[in-house]
């Protein structure tokens, strides 16, 4: 669906739709929801996902050992018990993608690449595309934390702010901390004012003739409708969350189960580049991975215990994408850190996946290995999965034709059930 068609979609029934009782049935791809969990700074995939025992010269963290749950292999360490307990519980619904090429080693560019597949700076990211291509929702893509590249899908994307800013805007409490004493209107007043603004803006928009001006006007009227719908939802949804991952995940689960959003972005480790371990790599990465998987465990449990919109549980209709914008070098540097590496790993779990397996890997030179486009098995020839293939995979999981957004890219074989 093109952007304008998306914007013309009716928003009238959004709030009502979010509150309807739902039948329990299997979710198809068009109904699938997504949670994106970013780990900013570049994780060291060899701590959990990518074995390097047989790669000469690669630093092997003391104390690690390979472990399998079914066919899914990962790296275990006594200091990361949450990694074990996560995979013990959810390996059958998880896929690890190793050796994914992100063709840069600069944070900004890698973030753009892993989320959009390009460096154009104008492409919308996977969650924005998936969210805006789905059924109309109040807040198609809500960004609780982490990067966002809305591209031309800006009206579908909204940030909550790190400290409840969205909630404070919805309630009007944003004005309470003003140095100059001011107050928001009373509820009956606010309703009158919002209706006035909506009418006047619609009238203004209908008068815009130039195509680019009309597009801007359409975006504005659509955004006003969404803002009004959100205000009604604030009585049942708390967008404020907290500063820790688990409480933010709770917000994500809430907006997904209520049908407010199709995609949610979260961040593990905080907003700065905490995963960027140019020094003390082993200690910091170990802590961060334990923290991440502790949070993922909680998230998975919440999803499994929460009703879905169409499926019995939210986990059965939600795919969780856990990623970092780059990997790290195989060897330690002089500061016991690791520098940037253009191959990373991605963890997927939840709905729509051929779970319980690892796809891809690194060769003896630490380059990604090719995988078979159908089976996902390691192949002798071909190309390693890259960010475009990752995008094609995610879009396909969401029932969005990847050809329109990542021309030439094919989904990574063996990922999709």
């Amino acid at each position: 669906m093109q952007r304008r068609a998306f914007l013309r979609s009716s928003l009238g029934a959004l709030v009502g739709g979010a509150l309807l009782a739902r039948p329990a049935r299997a979710a198809d791809a068009a109904q699938r929801k997504f949670i994106f969990v970013g780990a900013q700074g570049g994780w060291d995939a060899t701590r959990v996902f990518q074995p390097v025992f047989d790669i000469p010269g690669a630093h092997v963290e003391p104390g690690i050992q390979p472990r399998f749950v079914g066919d899914l292999g990962y790296i275990a360490h006594p200091g990361r018990p949450s990694v074990d307990s996560f995979f013990e519980a959810w390996a059958s619904q998880s896929v690890i993608l190793n050796g994914v090429l992100v063709p840069s080693i600069a944070h900004d560019i890698c973030r753009m690449l892993v989320l959009t597949g390009s460096v154009s700076g104008v492409s919308a990211d996977w969650p924005a595309l998936i969210a805006s291509e789905g059924a109309p929702r109040v807040l198609p893509h809500v960004v609780i934390g982490g990067p966002s590249f809305p591209g031309d899908r800006g009206t579908a994307v909204a940030r909550t702010g790190g400290f409840g800013q969205l909630e404070s805007l919805l309630s009007g409490s944003a004005l309470d901390a003003s140095d100059v004493p001011v107050r928001a209107p009373l509820a009956p007043e606010e309703s009158l004012l919002d209706r006035w603004v909506s009418r006047r803006t619609a009238a203004w928009a209908s008068a815009q003739r130039a195509p680019s001006a009309a597009a801007l006007a359409t975006s504005l009227t659509s955004s006003i409708d969404r803002a009004t719908a959100l205000k009604e939802l604030r009585w049942i949804v708390d967008f404020s969350g907290g500063s820790d991952f688990v409480s933010q995940a709770a917000v994500a689960v809430d907006v997904l189960t209520r049908g407010v959003s199709r995609c949610v972005s979260l961040e593990s480790g905080g907003s700065s580049l905490v995963w960027d371990t140019h020094a003390s790599n082993d200690q910091i990465q170990s802590y961060l991975f334990e923290d991440l998987f502790y949070g993922l465990k909680q998230l998975a449990q919440m999803l499994a215990l929460t009703p879905g919109e169409v499926a019995p549980t939210l986990l059965e209709e939600t795919t969780v994408v856990v990623f970092s914008e780059m990997g790290r070098t195989p060897q330690l540097n002089d500061a016991d850190g690791k520098d940037h590496w253009p191959y990373t790993s991605v963890l997927l779990f939840g709905a729509g996946l051929a779970g319980g397996r690892v796809i891809g890997g690194l060769d003896q030179s630490y380059y990604g290995v090719p995988v078979d486009p159908v089976s996902g098995d390691i192949a002798g020839e071909g190309v390693a999965p890259d960010t475009s293939a990752l995008g094609a995979t995610l879009l396909t999981l969401a029932d969005v034709d990847p050809a329109e957004f990542v021309p030439g890219a094919e989904p990574i074989g063996g990922v999709i059930a």
């Binding site: 000469p56 400290f163 800013q165 003003s178 001006a213 801007l216």
Partner: protein, 540 residues
């Protein structure tokens, strides 16, 4: 952003781009130019002047560009490219003995933007950005950076570093390198690319990287050799690495030690020898100090063309296209003829048919979205309300991340709406929004409500002349209609009749609001707030 650079390779007689078929009405053009050059809307007198004589427009635009707010606008515009207004640095205020995180964060990010603003305001050549022997600092920066700062002063002043660092404008300022740090393996290459991106419009990082499988990336020596022999590597590193070598005076042993990072380190200028082994040079021309780099950039034709393209894209709020080539050439010529001053460049672009377009013909931009700072500044100018919290911190310039010690403010949940209103934070959001979204609408709403409340309760004569709050439509409709007529004139430059639909509808709303609480001030606050929420304050 390479259109003008590519033009040098194009046939000299490329056909001119088609002119826009429709030009904005003078009043709308006045609004556009005023917001772009001053961040505020035209005055009633200015509207009247162009209504009476459209030919007065260009003279008015000259006064806008001569306005003291011009420099601030230039700094704000270029903040979208510098991305120094961010929320976190590798150094915390606490580590420097400061207890005010937000003053610390705001001050660092603004250093280079204040330099830009001063250069623009004082008609210095744009090349001053990379050659000046001075910087800008405020009282916060002066507490931890080695700068001269008049005792007892408050605010931003032109000043100098006291550690004898080279004269290289913003290249020699701390802020750029506090924002863009480096690592041992990166060896200032990221910083060199920032210089290339900001001043030459050449972003190495947008080039796709081809990793040659024949190179063993696990072998440090092989990698080092590839950087100077492998064609895929040499393409960038041959020019990037020598640029990076100019920057070792900002080489720090500890990226978290603010005191070490505060000073320039001339003793480390030659540390490139132990890192990359590549001597400083500017595209093949050897250099020695950061001042050499600044002079080289200032003398590079690309510096001028880059500034032109940046200004064009920032003012039109769209990317340059090949169809813009002729226009960009004209503006470059005007920029040069005008002494490479930003005012000359603004004047040339603001006279361009594309800038003045009323429709989409010829690549014009008939409507564009305000930036969050322009939204805030125009409402402040109209109402006197500036949305600050905790004694003066602007919620449009500071987000809340990392401010854990401001507990009381976080409880209030009202700190920082910059990214929610569409601005970049340099990390999670790297581009300013060009179309509205839900949170911008909400920010606009709350800002308008607050500003309206402030005017009605603290300064009613400013926008409601003649209103006593004792009148109602039943007792004195004429006075109330006159106030609404005045608001239309002041806010939009519209002359509306007392019996127009606009006035009638606003009075009807007033009565509905008055019915809620029988409070005339609340009713007027509501009416004013919706007029401030008009789409014309977002799209111009």
């Amino acid at each position: 952003m390479v259109i003008l650079l590519l033009a040098a390779c194009a046939p000299p007689d490329a056909p001119p781009a088609p002119a826009s078929a429709v030009t904005l009405p003078p009043r709308d053009l006045l609004v556009r130019a005023s917001l772009d050059a001053r961040g505020v809307r035209p005055s009633i007198d200015e509207y009247a002047a162009v209504e009476a004589d459209p030919a007065a427009l260009d003279a008015l635009l000259d006064t806008y560009r001569a306005d003291p707010r011009f420099g601030t606008r230039v700094g704000d515009l270029w903040s979208e490219l510098y991305l120094t207004r961010t929320d976190t640095y590798s150094v915390t205020a606490d580590s420097l003995g400061l207890d005010d995180d937000r003053a610390f964060i705001e001050a660092i990010g603004d250093e280079p933007l204040r330099v830009l603003g001063y250069v623009a305001d004082t008609d210095l050549p744009w090349t001053t950005l990379v050659t000046a022997d001075w910087t800008m600092a405020n009282e916060t920066l002066a507490t931890f950076w080695p700068v001269e700062y008049p005792e007892g002063s408050v605010g931003w002043v032109k000043t100098r570093y006291t550690d004898d660092r080279p004269a290289a404008g913003v290249l020699a300022g701390n802020a750029l390198w506090w924002r863009y740090t480096s690592t041992e393996s990166n060896a200032n290459r990221k910083r060199a690319n920032i210089i290339s991106r900001l001043f030459l419009c050449n972003d190495y990082l947008t080039r796709p990287l081809e990793f040659d499988r024949s190179v063993n990336l696990l072998d440090e020596a092989a990698v080092a050799d590839a950087l100077v022999t492998d064609p895929g590597c040499v393409n960038c590193h041959k020019s990037l690495d020598p640029l990076a070598s100019f920057l070792f005076g900002f080489w720090w042993l500890d990226n978290n030690d603010g005191w070490e990072m505060a000073g320039y380190h001339p003793e480390r200028e030659r540390a490139w020898a132990d890192n990359t082994g590549v001597a400083p040079a500017y595209y093949g021309v050897p250099g020695d100090s950061l001042a050499d780099l600044g002079r080289s950039i200032a003398g590079d034709e690309r510096f001028v063309t880059c500034a032109v393209e940046q200004a064009w894209e920032l003012l039109l709020r769209r990317d340059a296209t090949p169809a813009d080539t002729n226009a960009l050439v004209r503006h470059r010529d005007a920029f040069l003829a005008g002494g490479v001053t930003m005012r000359a460049l603004f004047a040339s672009i603001q006279a361009d048919p594309a800038y003045r377009a009323g429709d989409d013909t010829g690549g014009g931009v008939p409507a564009k979205l305000v930036t969050p700072l322009v939204l805030a500044s125009q409402i402040e100018d109209l109402t006197g309300f500036r949305w600050t919290t905790a004694a003066g911190y602007d919620v449009f310039k500071v987000d809340a991340a990392g401010l854990d010690d401001k507990g009381t403010l976080l409880v209030a949940n009202a700190v920082g709406f910059r990214t929610l209103s569409g601005a970049a934070d340099g990390y999670n959001v790297t581009a300013t929004a060009r179309e509205p979204n839900t949170t911008l609408v909400l920010v606009h709403e709350r800002l308008a409500e607050a500003a309206a409340y402030h005017v009605v309760h603290a300064d009613p004569a400013r926008l409601l002349p003649g209103v006593t709050f004792a009148e109602t439509p039943a007792t004195d409709r004429a006075a109330m209609a006159a106030a609404i007529q005045f608001l239309h004139l002041r806010l939009y430059g519209d002359t509306v009749a007392a019996d127009s639909d606009e006035v009638t509808a606003a009075l009807a709303l007033w009565e509905q609001l008055y019915a809620v609480g029988a409070d005339a001030r609340s009713a007027w606050t509501g009416v004013l707030s919706v007029l401030l929420r008009d789409p014309r304050l977002l799209v111009y």
